[in-house]
Amino acid sequence: MTDQAQLLPGTLDLLILRAVSIGALHGYGILLRIGQISGNALLIEQGALYPGLFRLVRQGLLTTSWGTSENNRRAKFYELTEAGHTRLREETDSWNRLVAAIAAALSQQPEEA
């Protein structure tokens, strides 16, 4: 548990988009997928997922449909829209740039003048 990292604000949306981009999923499935792709390194309170999902639906990045889950329960499935795909690409790019910039800044050795 101790090696789990707190989620940076705003990054949950990106993770959701990423998780759903692989295929339609229900809420619990998204949670498992995030855990799986992040190597269980991130700490998310389970309920906190849902406000994010509703927000993304409202922004038109996700669509929903009711269906049956792998263990035969009724569940609501989320899927990326066209706009969602575009957004994911943009956000991934800018995230990578940010990470690269910060990594570069942190790896810089202080120089004596």
Binding site: H26, G27, Y28, G29, E45, Q46, G47, A48, Y50, P51, G52, L53, F54, R55, V57, R58, G60, S69, N71, R73, R74, A75, K76
Partner: protein, 883 residues
């Protein structure tokens, strides 16, 4: 498209709330079930798996709330939810709700009414094109202007596009049937052109119609008069009518939305001023001294500031004073609003502003009142608030709910108040206080009034709703839930107490103001006006209008007086130019000391009221002769000029009132007049005026009167007497128009403003008193109910009744004392403002002071009575059992 979609989504979210809630619930449940199934597979037993799944999920209600918020349509949804919740809360305490709504309805209603009046009388411009640049040219001493002076102003000023002038007149209009005396304006030929008024029918008159005295026998009707007396007959244009028995032609009709430039006075007609001789029975067109022009008005030229225009007018005024020193004192000008002559406008504006201030105070007091009630409620509900906080509700949400509650109350109160005020304003608008005079107060409420009421409601709602906010923010859920209902209220009461003191102080100000007003009214009604209007009937006639030549007027007056004196039961008959305090106004004339040689206006010893009277007038009017003699019919043109003067005149112009009989003074044509009698002081133009000098001149020594009033003193039944008087006078002249009215009725006119002022102040004071009752009551009742247990214990331990009362209400009474004292002092300071409207309004009057103290004591007593009874009837056993 996107906007439309989002809108549709929001609407859908709003209207399908229950469906969405159900779906959300199902989705979250499904999540937890999935998780529980996973956990069960990993080896936990079913019950434990379900418990763990729920714990891991976190605060389900909180997330649901956040989801709803994330969906957006929620803002409206949660507001609706708040409103439903607030309504439920309010329904649970109907007493509180009704009291709060009523308080606000009264306060906002009062504000809306006063604002409606303010809006109609002061803010709304006259209904003419380009009203912004329209100004009235007023003399700084409020005097009227003379026609020749007006002509000079018109032709020599450089600031105005054009200047028009107005005079009031009453004419006998004979359209073939039903001859009647009606009021209207005599206007200069350019009046309609200056204002930019287009005819509704026919044409209006123009400068080109004026070609010297009596050259324009035209009459223009107003829409209202045409509508009511000619039944919208479009054929009236060009019709011949008789005005004061002179042939006139109806030129046209003014448009319906133009009701003249004066706000209080809706004219029936306009006639050209050059025909004044026929209209008024007398022409002042060539007389610089006769000031018959009540208003001069015009549009400023573009780019000319009012200051420059005034400076320009002042130079014209200065040159007039130089050219005509006998007639003109040096005049200076101001520019005013055309809707009211400055002499009325200034006090009206000051009074309405004062009323607005008092109404604002009432609203403030009401807010303080409701604020403390809300604070009390909030602290009673602190457990509920704490519970909700503990269950994960956000503080913002709770505040929003409290504010929603306050706003609901304020909106309900505001709309009730607004409805009431609209009804009141509508009635005021159609109210005609005096028959025969087209005087009215046009106060139709408009969008401005609605807007102000709404804004006031919302602002006051926020104001008193915000009071408990700090309380909520400081609520610590764990503390309160632990401590139980007897939790300490401590410092929270302090804020409420300050509010209460403020409120009581405001109410005391209002009560003081209304006491001053009521006292002033009482005095003005029972004051000594130097006349005794009881048992006197007034007969108003105008012999010039009726067609008598100057030579035949005085013999006719004698015959009329004799005829009336011959009626059995009539004690005295007197004739006068205008009765004091009548609606006809009063004549004034410059008078000079006997030794003054240069009789230009600036050397005048005084501008005195002047009454032309018949010998028996003093008896008929009930004015006491203090010294000397009254007139006889022998004081005529052949005898030396004489006068009677009042004490003020004697003291001011003749040096002293004790030996003034026999002394001389001069009038402006140089005549030396000997004083033969001194009469008591009186009131002449209005009951609120300071003591003015007045002189009385014998009828037979003056120029013949046009308009005249005959006073008939008799103890007989007025109706019978009026009928007899009418037949007797008709026997002398069957066609003479005459009005007969009781003098006491006629006095209503001059009492009008004082009465209106007193009544409105009285009503505001009453509202203040009611508010302080509810405020003190609320406070006392609350403190008793909070300390019921403590009081019960005290009683159980054998406390005496007085001690219980002291414990229960001591604080409330102390606050009442502090507030009243503060309010009394403030009220006395504020009452100076009232003193120029209300007759003899002196707040230092011991009766007023005693009255205010007594009133506040009574209010306190009434307000604490029920809580005190409740405190005394505490049954300790029952109370302790309940807890």
């Amino acid at each position: 498209m996107k906007l439309l979609d989002s809108l549709r989504f929001r609407m859908a979210a709003l209207f399908q709330r229950s469906r969405i809630n159900a779906e959300m619930e199902e989705e979250l449940r499904s999540h937890i079930e999935h998780r529980a199934a996973d956990l069960e597979r990993s080896g936990l037993d079913r019950a434990e798996a379900e418990r763990r799944a729920r714990v891991e999920f976190g605060g389900r209600e909180k997330y649901k709330e956040e989801c709803r918020e994330a969906m957006g349509g929620n803002r409206i949804g949660s507001i609706l939810q708040d409103m439903r919740y607030s309504l439920r809360q309010l329904r649970k305490s109907p007493g509180f709700t009704i009291a709060a709504v009523l308080t606000l309805a009264l306060a906002i209603g009062a504000n809306a009414v006063v604002f409606g009046v303010l809006n109609a009388l002061i803010l709304r411009p006259v209904n003419v094109p380009d009203a912004k640049s329209l100004y009235a040219v007023d003399l700084t001493n409020d005097a009227w202007e003379s026609y020749p002076n007006y002509l000079d102003l018109r032709d020599r000023n450089r600031g105005f596009e054009g200047l028009a002038a107005l005079g009031l007149s009453q004419v006998a209009l004979d359209t073939g049937k039903d001859p009647s005396r009606i009021w209207g304006f005599e206007a200069t030929g350019n009046y309609f052109d200056v204002l930019g008024i287009q005819p509704y029918l026919g044409r209006l008159f123009h400068p080109s119609d004026e070609r010297g005295l009596n050259s324009a026998p035209y009459i223009v009707l107003t829409y209202a008069y045409w509508h009511s007396h000619f039944q919208d007959d479009r054929g009236v244009v060009g019709r011949a009518v008789r005005v004061n028995s002179h042939p006139y032609t109806i030129l046209g009709v003014t448009p319906p939305d133009f009701r003249g430039t004066f706000i209080f006075f809706a004219p029936n007609f306009y006639v050209p001023m050059v025909n004044q001789d026929q209209i008024g029975g007398d022409s002042a067109l060539n007389n610089r001294e006769r000031r018959g022009v009540i208003q001069v008005l015009g549009h400023l030229k573009p780019g000319v500031t009012p200051e420059r225009a005034v400076a320009d007018l002042d130079t014209v005024g200065a040159s007039l004073a130089k050219a005509y020193p006998k007639e003109n004192a040096r005049e200076s000008f101001t520019l005013g609003r055309p809707s009211m002559p400055s002499v009325i406008g200034r006090p009206v504006r000051a009074f309405v502003a004062a009323l607005m201030l008092l109404a604002g105070l009432i609203l403030l007091a009401a807010c303080a009142n409701l604020g403390s009630l809300f604070a009390a409620r909030a602290s009673d509900r602190s457990r509920e608030v704490a519970l909700r906080l503990a269950l994960g509700s956000s503080r913002n949400r709770i505040l929003r709910q409290l504010l929603t509650e306050a706003l609901l109350i304020s909106l309900a109160g505001g709309s009730a108040g607004l409805l009431g005020s609209i009804a009141l304003l509508r009635r005021l608008d159609t109210w005609q206080p005096f028959s025969g005079v087209p005087l009215h107060v046009p106060v139709q409420p408009d969008a401005n009034v609605y807007l102000v009421a709404l804004v006031l409601a919302v602002v006051s709602g926020l104001l008193f709703g915000i009071v408990p906010v700090r309380q909520v923010f400081r609520t610590n859920p764990y503390e309160i839930v632990k401590a139980g209902s007897a939790g300490r209220v401590g410092r929270r009461i302090a804020a409420r107490e300050i509010l209460l003191v403020a409120q009581i102080a405001i109410c005391a100000v209002l009560v003081t103001a209304s006491m001053v007003a009521v006292r002033g009214l009482a005095r003005s009604l029972h004051g000594n006006f130097g006349i005794d209007p009881n048992n006197v009937m007034l007969v108003e006639t105008d012999l010039k209008i009726s067609g008598y030549s100057p030579a035949s007027i005085q013999p006719m007056q004698r015959r009329m007086i004799d005829a009336l004196e011959a009626i059995p039961g009539v004690e005295h008959v007197g004739l006068v130019s205008f009765p004091p305090l009548g609606r006809g106004g009063s004549w004034k004339a410059n008078v000079f000391r006997d030794e003054t040689k240069d009789l230009s206006p600036s050397n005048a010893a005084a501008n005195s009221y002047m009454y032309v009277i018949s010998p028996d007038y003093l008896h008929a009017a009930g004015t006491t002769l203090l010294e000397g003699r009254t007139f006889t019919w022998h004081d005529d043109k052949g005898a030396p000029p004489v006068a009677m003067v009042n004490r003020e005149f004697a003291a001011k112009i003749l040096g002293s009132s004790s030996n003034a009989v026999g002394k001389y003074y001069k009038v402006s044509d140089g005549t030396r007049v000997q004083v033969v009698g001194i009469v008591e002081d009186g009131k002449y133009l209005s009951v609120t005026e300071a003591q003015q000098p007045a002189m009385f001149m014998p009828l037979a020594q003056q120029d013949p009167l046009g308009e005249q009033w005959i006073l008939v003193r008799s103890a007989r039944d007025p109706q019978q007497l009026a009928a007899t008087a009418r037949t007797r006078l008709r026997a002398l002249d069957a066609g003479m128009p005459l009005d007969i009215v009781l003098w006491t009725r006629e006095l209503d006119f001059s009492m009008f403003s004082a009465r209106m002022a007193s009544v409105s102040l009285g009503v505001l004071g009453l509202m203040g008193a009611m508010l302080s009752i509810t405020g003190i009551f609320g406070m006392a009742a609350y403190s008793v109910s909070k300390r019921l247990r403590e009081l019960g214990i005290r009683i159980a331990l054998g406390a005496r009744r007085t001690e219980v009362l002291k414990a229960a209400l001591g604080r409330a009474v102390k606050l009442l004392g502090i507030g009243s004292a503060a309010g009394l002092v403030l009220g006395i300071l504020a009452s100076r403002v009232l003193s120029f409207i209300v007759y003899q309004a002196t707040p230092r009057d011991p009766l007023v002071l005693a009255g205010v103290v007594l009133a506040m004591l009574l209010l306190g007593l009434v307000a604490t009575w029920i809580p005190a009874l409740r405190a005394l009837s505490v049954d300790p056993l029952k109370l302790l059992r309940e807890e």
